[in-house]
Structure formats: structure tokens, C-alpha cells
């Protein structure tokens, strides 16, 4: 059933052109693979979709560094200088991790390459898939890390075949950052999930959402942000400039959270109280908005679990944990107990803005994640709990929070300037 050449095994069901066999033989003579070093022959495969022939083998990193062409083009006669693949994203965290892995001897698989000597014949391995991995491999080779990597070598590709193969190798179904966070959290342990279930942020046996949830199920990022900011607030001095943070999401667990996680006493009553109060705020916000006939938008309903709101609220709760501040803390927690309307007054927050600097498309307080928004939102909760006479958020308070934040920032800048003298 098989047709044998010097180095190749070809199924009798396949009928490759002689040019394909010639090129495959030429490749196997020019390059030493792990399989050939083990005196094994290579199987020739056929991809029915692209009607292209290829073989799979393993090549040393050094060879890939020297012989790959990362600027592969679709049509060398028409556009030899115009690379088909996207540019490199070396500042990306995923690439940085790839590079670290390569340095630790990671063996990468399924690098998609065409053996083609039509252009730049000194580097005949034209890369159509895996350029970042090969870049990481090359970096590792510089540090004398030279291991085998799996490659899929195509031969004698037409223009359409090249395009099809490049396209399929540049198509990926994105995995949400929230799912990555949830997976990483599983790896770290069950404490965060258990705690969230205990305080009522999650129902019993419920897991974190793997993407933004219309039902208001918090993600891992929200739970982490809640904890990190609570402890940040707890360790802050009241007269300092306050800047809550939102935990990072996606590849690589937030460093502040990782550092904090080991020190958390998950049974601490104050921490539990904070979690329960936040769960109540979220519940009341959803309930009050859903009862409305007008302005019952999903964004309003889930306002409490917007990362900016979570961070600022938790930071404020942390800041007022001291015994002398318990009255203020109570007022902060009592926000969810206002008689009517939604506790966060999402409509007032939406309308609040600094007319001088906020652009027309500004979406109000607590709608974006950046330092300014986090600062403004924090001072809203801070002023509400410590200075406002009445319970509840209103436009006047939101306006004051914006002004107060600018003033605090100006003070911080002035202090910094004085220090430089």
C-alpha cells in the first residue's frame, strides 16, 4: 500500500506531483531532523482542503534560527518585500511568557513552514504560522538553549494554497481574559470562590463568570479587585492621595493579588462583613433598577460590579476600618439601604462630568477604568461616607467628587514639587 522513496513514505492513495516529491527529498537531504537521526523515514501527508502536501518532523532550534524566513510573502515575483504575516508583538505578555518558556527548554509544536527556494534561497524555510514562537526560539538559541521543535513542512504551494494556509494559521478563537483568570484561580485554590459563596457574591456551587455576565455574576477579576482594594485602603493613611486599582486580567495573574493572597485570613469577620455588604449593594442595585419601568439598562443594573466602582467602594471600606471611623464605615455600608431609587444613582453618575475637560463621549462616573475615573469614584464614596449630610448619591455629590479629586491631585503635584526643592 505504500510507495517508498529514499527518505519518504507515501501512501498509495496519494498522488503527489513529482515536483512535490523532489522538493520533499531535497528538504530531507538539506535538513537533519530528529526522525532521520533515529533512522526513521518521513510520512507525506495530504491536506484535502488546501490540496497541499506536507510532512511532519522535528528540527533543532538553532537550525530554525538560521534557516527560517520570517518575512514570507504570498507572491515573491510581485511583492517580495511585502510580508504576508502580521508584524511582531514583542511587548505582548503572551510573547514574553513564550520567550521565558523557550529559555526553559519548551519544545514547541506545529510551526507551519513552506520549504521554498524561489526567493531568499539562503533561508528556505518560509514561515506561515508560528513566527512569534520561532522568534522566541531564536532568542533562546542565543542563550545556548537548543532543543527540537515540531514543524509542518509544506511543499510546492500555489498562491492560493499559501494564502489558505496562512489564513488558517492566523485564525484563532479568542479565549476571554475572564476565563483565563478563572483557570488561574482554580490553580491557586478554592479560597476565593468559597469566600465569594460565603459572603453571597456567588450562589452555593456557583462559579465565577467566564465573561461579562448580564446576570451580574462577578468574574474573578472583580473578586480580586474587591480584596486588593480593601487591603490597600486598610493600609492607607486618610490624608494621603488615594488611588484604587483594578486588578489586571488575562495571561499572568495580577502580581498585587498574588502577593496579597497568601496573607489573607479568609475567615476574618471584617473581611466577611465587607464582602456581605458589597453583595448586598450589588443585589439592591440590580433589584431597584429591574423594578423600574424607565432607564432600566443592564449597565445601570450591574453598576456595582463595574471594576471602577468595585475598586473604589472596597478601598473606601478598607480605609474606614479603624475603630475611630466605624460611624463613617456604617454610612458607607448603609448606601445599599437607601429608601428609594438605586443605591448608586446610576443616572446621576452618568450625567456627572467636568465640562472643561471631559469629552462629549464621556460616559459619566464609574464607566471607564483609568486612574482619573478610579480617583473620582473613590472620592465620591469618600465624601458620601465622611462629609455628606444625607445618605445617598446625587448630582451635587458627584460634582463635588470630581472637584475634590482635582484638588487632591493638585495638592499631590504641589507636594512633589516642594520635595524637589
Amino acid at each position: 500500500m505504500k510507495c517508498n522513496t529514499k527518505n519518504l513514505i507515501i501512501s498509495k492513495l496519494l498522488h503527489p506531483e513529482s515536483s512535490v516529491i523532489k522538493k520533499a527529498e531535497s528538504f530531507l537531504e538539506e535538513f537533519s531532523s530528529f526522525e532521520s537521526e533515529c533512522s526513521l523515514k518521513h510520512l507525506l501527508f495530504y491536506d484535502k482542503r488546501s490540496k497541499a502536501y506536507y510532512l511532519i518532523c522535528h528540527i533543532k532550534g538553532e537550525c530554525l534560527k538560521l534557516k527560517t524566513d520570517l518575512e514570507a510573502v504570498l507572491d515573491p515575483e510581485e511583492s517580495e518585500e511585502y510580508k504576508l504575516n502580521r508584524g511582531f508583538y514583542i511587548d505582548n505578555l503572551a510573547y514574553k511568557i513564550m520567550k521565558e518558556d523557550a529559555l526553559l527548554g519548551r519544545s514547541f509544536e506545529d510551526l507551519v513552514i513552506e520549504y521554498d527556494k524561489h526567493y531568499r534561497p539562503e533561508i528556505p524555510l518560509k514561515v506561515f504560522g508560528g513566527q512569534h514562537r520561532i522568534k522566541a526560539i531564536s532568542e533562546a538559541v542565543k542563550k545556548k538553549i537548543n532543543v527540537y521543535h515540531g514543524v509542518r513542512i509544506y511543499f510546492d504551494l500555489s498562491l492560493e494554497q499559501k494564502f489558505n494556509i496562512a489564513l488558517v494559521n492566523n485564525t484563532s478563537i479568542a479565549v476571554s481574559n475572564d476565563l483565563l483568570d478563572r483557570m488561574q484561580e482554580e490553580l491557586l485554590g478554592v479560597n476565593l470562590r468559597n469566600w465569594c459563596q460565603e459572603v453571597g457574591l456567588l450562589k452555593g456551587n456557583q462559579n465565577f463568570a467566564d465573561k461579562r455576565s448580564p446576570e451580574g455574576i462577578p468574574t474573578v477579576r472583580i473578586a480580586r479587585t474587591l480584596l486588593v482594594n480593601f487591603f490597600m485602603g486598610k493600609n492607607a493613611k486618610e490624608d494621603q492621595f488615594h488611588s484604587p486599582i483594578v486588578c489586571t486580567s488575562g495571561i499572568g495573574t495580577d502580581k498585587k493579588y498574588v502577593k496579597l493572597r497568601d496573607t489573607i485570613n479568609w475567615k476574618d469577620n471584617k473581611l466577611k462583613e465587607m464582602g456581605e455588604q458589597f453583595a448586598l449593594l450589588h443585589k439592591m442595585q440590580r433589584q431597584r433598577i429591574s423594578e423600574r419601568k424607565k432607564d432600566n439598562f443592564l449597565e445601570f443594573m450591574n453598576k456595582a460590579i463595574h471594576p471602577c466602582v468595585v475598586a473604589s467602594w472596597a478601598y473606601t471600606a478598607g480605609l474606614f476600618q479603624r475603630k475611630s471611623k466605624l460611624k463613617i464605615l456604617k454610612k458607607h455600608y448603609d448606601l445599599s439601604r437607601i429608601g428609594q431609587g438605586d443605591p448608586l444613582n446610576a443616572t446621576a453618575l452618568l450625567k456627572a462630568r467636568d465640562n472643561a475637560i471631559d469629552p462629549d463621549n464621556y460616559r459619566g462616573l464609574g464607566a471607564r477604568i483609568n486612574n482619573t475615573e478610579l480617583g473620582r469614584m473613590f472620592y465620591l464614596f469618600y465624601l458620601h461616607a465622611s462629609k455628606a449630610t444625607n445618605l445617598g448619591i446625587n448630582s451635587k455629590l458627584a460634582d463635588s467628587a470630581i472637584k475634590y479629586y482635582i484638588a487632591q491631585k493638585a495638592d499631590k503635584a504641589a507636594k512633589k514639587a516642594i520635595k524637589r526643592i
Binding site: A356, K403, I406, A407, A410, A413
Partner: protein
């Protein structure tokens, strides 16, 4: 409100400038309204800034009282800001803010300061006028208004950058001649 006043001022001036078939009286009317709105805009803006700065710790009480148009009174052995009003000139408040928050602002060389003063003088003249007729030529009105509105816009921009560390938003900055 100051952003809306500034837009009003700009729009009234634009109407007066662009409607070539309007008679002199009508143009004068629009320019006058433009001047009043422009001055209202800068007054409201300065009041807004004063509100912000009243929250800072780096500014002393007499400076805050000055910006907030409040009187300082002696209570026991301490001077405090009272609830009594004590109004100060807008140009003095702007001069104080520019000196304090805008590095290297040159009142002698920066044209926007002299343009603002011209506009302010015109406003004062109109408000406290004793003459029966407005005999200001259209060409003079146009020049005072164009330069004056632009100067107000630039002063706001300087102060935003100096105090808020951000430029005035584009939609307002575009209201210049």
C-alpha cells in the same frame, strides 16, 4: 454652565460676522450679547476653579477667600473665611490664578491678556454706559469680540492645563476665531 455661555458668545459673534446683509444696529446687538456671554463664561469658569481650589490644602485661607469672594474675619485669635461676600475684580482673580498655576505666563507679552482686558473694558463700558447711543464701529466690535473670545478660551485652556493637568476639551477649544 461656562461651556454653554462660551458657545453662546461664539455663536452670537459668528452670526454678527457672517450675516453680511444685517444692518449695523442688528450686528451691534449681537456683538453686545456675545461680549456679555463671553464675560459670563470666564466668570463662571473662575468660580468653578475657585470651588475646586477651596478643597486643596496647598492654598492658604486668604487666597481661598479671595477666589471665593468671601470676607476673612477675625474669630478669637484666628482669621477664618466668613459667609459674608466681598467681591473681587475678575481680572485680579485671573491674574492671581495665572501667576500661581501657569508657569512663565508673561502678562506683558502674551497677547491673550491684553485682548481679554480690552474685552473686559468694553463690557464695563457697555454696562456702565452714560451715552445715549452705541457709537462703536462694527469693525471695532468685530476685532474686540474675535480677539476677546479667543483670549477667554486660551485663558481657560491655560488654567485647565495648569490646575487639572489636562487641556480644555476640543469642542470648547474649537470656539476660537
Amino acid at each position: 454652565m461656562y461651556d454653554e455661555y462660551l458657545r453662546d458668545s461664539y455663536d452670537f459673534a459668528m452670526d454678527a460676522i457672517s450675516n453680511k446683509n444685517w444692518n449695523e444696529k442688528l450686528k451691534q446687538r449681537y456683538f453686545r450679547v456675545s461680549i456679555f456671554c463671553g464675560m459670563a463664561a470666564i466668570e463662571a469658569f473662575v468660580n468653578n476653579i475657585a470651588d475646586i481650589l477651596s478643597y486643596t490644602k496647598m492654598m492658604c485661607e486668604n487666597e481661598k477667600a479671595f477666589l471665593l469672594d468671601k470676607k476673612m474675619i477675625l474669630e478669637n485669635d484666628k482669621f477664618i473665611i466668613s459667609e459674608q461676600n466681598e467681591f473681587h475684580k475678575i481680572e485680579d482673580k485671573i491674574k492671581f490664578l495665572l501667576s500661581k498655576y501657569v508657569k512663565d505666563f508673561d502678562f506683558g507679552c502674551n497677547r491673550c491678556w491684553s485682548d481679554f482686558i480690552s474685552l473686559k473694558r468694553k463690557r464695563d463700558f457697555l454696562i456702565h454706559s452714560r451715552s445715549e447711543e452705541d457709537d462703536t464701529k462694527i469693525i471695532d466690535y468685530e476685532s474686540i469680540v474675535k480677539n476677546g473670545i479667543t483670549s477667554i478660551n486660551k485663558i481657560m485652556d491655560y488654567l485647565c492645563l495648569g490646575i487639572k493637568n489636562k487641556k480644555l476639551r476640543t469642542q470648547i477649544r474649537d470656539l476660537r476665531f
